[in-house]
Amino acid sequence: MTEYILEANNLKKYFPIFGGVFSRVEGYVKAVDDVTFKIRKGETFGLVGESGCGKSTTGRTILNLLKPTGGSVTFNGKVIFDVENKHTLNKKETRALRRNMQIIFQDPGSCLDPRMNVASLIGEGLLEHGLAKKREIMDKAVELLELCGLRGECVHRYPHEFSGGQRQRIAIARALALAPKFIVGDEPIAALDVSIQAQVLTLMQELKEKLGLTYMFISHDLGVVKYFCDSTCVMYLGSIVEQASSERLFSNPLHPYTKCLLAAIPKSNPRETKERIILSGDVPSPADPPKGCKFHTRCPQAKDICKDTVPLMKEIATDHHVCCHLY
């Protein structure tokens, strides 16, 4: 029996569009539209998709950083919120939750307050939760920095004195300060150089093994997800289109969109001949998604049924779910 650390059921997040003189709500951007997934304890769960598909919004909504529009999330057997049953956590419970769930952002340049030095950045959460006294902060910060591969002497320095990769290490140290069980990485390596990406990924992998973490890894880069994640979800326009173990997903993609994504990865070698499925056009606006299957406007295998009926998620094989009329 596998244990799930996080379960999201029918998660929805709509952003209202205001218009007119009196700022009336004229419509909604359905950034996350009915998303259901489960994350096993100790695994790395990948969420891939193109820009605007709602992957970051999903990450922030499950952390309660954004107010969900619908659905429920259960973390460690405890319901964090359930919009339909009007269940939310009170302030104290939310604070306790923050200790267990942390987030690492994409841009290491903007996720650290430029006016605070490293020690106070790392210590901020510890003080807030009463996990350490003021004079213990320094030792704790040094310890965490060294854990993340930085020299402990850097504790008095300020974020602007570090390179992008180092700042990302600081951000990781800061997230780890509270000893969380679950970390959402929102494109944590997308802004880094290739050689630094590998370093940060290695660090994340080591920390996971050492501290028994569970990651939710949000990325647009299929290569990274293939290497790093145990199971993977592919999102398109706010919905999950395919979900499987990474191994299965990359060796046997079923959804036409997944196939296109994989075909679009540039060659790894100039000799390689790749069969290309070139998609026409761009991703439609999430404010006005197509009817029926959201992908039918660009799908090379679209049928009539796709234009007006929304396909349901089907389990094709063990742990391989796909949302397409072809199956």
Partner: protein
């Protein structure tokens, strides 16, 4: 026998800073043949974008200037040209595509307006011909409803479409050289491949040479005939694309190739280049790569190696390949 269209010799570009002059480009030698796609690859801060700005003579003023070296384009010495002479070359014989299609187009003019502006400067066309040429270009870059797009504003187009417009604009005067500075970095994978395929097919049709600047080795594999790898303002390896992937010689190129995640199996350990790119003001002694290099020998710490041709068409800047007959 295709001769060189662009020949860069010993190019040194420096920036004035409060802590003195800093060499951003430190003796670049490059040649680009007619009809060839040359890739320039490296991490941020290695000077690959500054190389392109030096060619265009568009270095940020008043800090940046070309200190030394020659840039021969079609046997013309670009560094000696006056500003008006240079302006007649920009956009006409050499054009450029930038990374951010959002900011590279002026939001207050229609697409048609902006392409016509380029035509106005370099070609003498009648009004109706101009519009026709414009729409023809938009069709060429695969924009559906080219006639509507002609009258639309940049914000009405998506990122991929904007990049197509940029390409249409860059190619409207049929330049001999197109400099593409990270043309697909800001785009999604599915759109990136569209743009790359488009550039490849247009390059074949118009026989334009392309200098493609990127940090993504996948894009290089996809597009280029030859590659130059840059590190801290110097070229460390230059060879054909096939060579760099099959038999990279410089430890830095090897490291870059190893850092790619696409073809590593899950669970395998990543081989990464330790440390990080030093800042320009803090360049290491000897070979710039020596502090991060796993094959560093004593000599690397004191002397900078030259870019030597170790095999026909394969140049490397590394002491490992100097004395042996490799």
């Amino acid at each position: 026998m295709p001769e060189a269209l662009l020949e860069i010799q010993d190019l040194v570009t420096s920036f004035k800073t409060t802590s003195g002059l800093q060499r951003v480009l430190d003796g670049i030698n490059l040649s680009l043949r007619r009809g060839e796609i040359l890739g320039l690859v490296g991490e941020s801060g290695c000077g690959k974008s500054i190389t392109s700005l030096s060619i265009m003579r568009l270095l940020p003023q008043p800090y940046g200037f070309i200190e030394n070296g020659k840039i021969l384009f079609n046997d013309k010495e670009l560094t000696d040209l006056s500003i008006p002479e240079m302006e007649s070359i920009r956009g006409n014989e050499i054009s450029m595509i930038f990374q951010e299609p959002m900011t590279a187009l002026n939001p207050v003019f229609t697409i048609g307006n902006q392409i016509e502006e380029v035509l106005d400067i370099h070609q003498d066309l009648k009004k109706r011909d101009k519009k026709e040429k414009c729409i023809e270009m938009l069709k060429l870059v695969g924009l559906p409803r080219a006639k509507d797009v002609y009258n639309e504003y940049p914000h009405q187009l998506s990122g991929g479409m904007r990049q197509r417009v940029m390409i249409a604009m860059a190619l409207s005067c049929e330049p001999r050289l197109l400099i593409a500075d990270e043309p697909t970095t800001a785009l999604d994978v599915t759109v990136q491949i569209q743009i790359l395929e488009l550039m490849k097919s247009l390059q074949k049709d118009m026989n334009t040479s392309i200098l493609l600047i990127t940090h993504d080795l996948g894009v290089i594999a996809e597009m280029c005939d030859r590659v130059a790898v840059m590190y801290l303002g110097k070229i460390v390896e230059e060879t054909t694309t096939v060579n760099i992937f099959d038999n990279p010689l410089h430890p830095y190129s090897q490291g870059l190739l190893n850092s790619r995640l696409g073809n590593i199996q899950k669970g395998e350990k990543l081989i990464c280049i330790p440390g990080m790119v030093p800042t320009l003001s803090d360049k290491p002694q000897g070979c710039f790569f020596s502090p991060r290099c796993s094959k560093c020998i004593d000599r690397c710490k004191t002397d900078m190696p030259e870019l030597n041709e170790v095999k026909p068409g394969h140049k490397v800047r590394c002491w490992l390949y100097v004395d042996e007959d490799y």
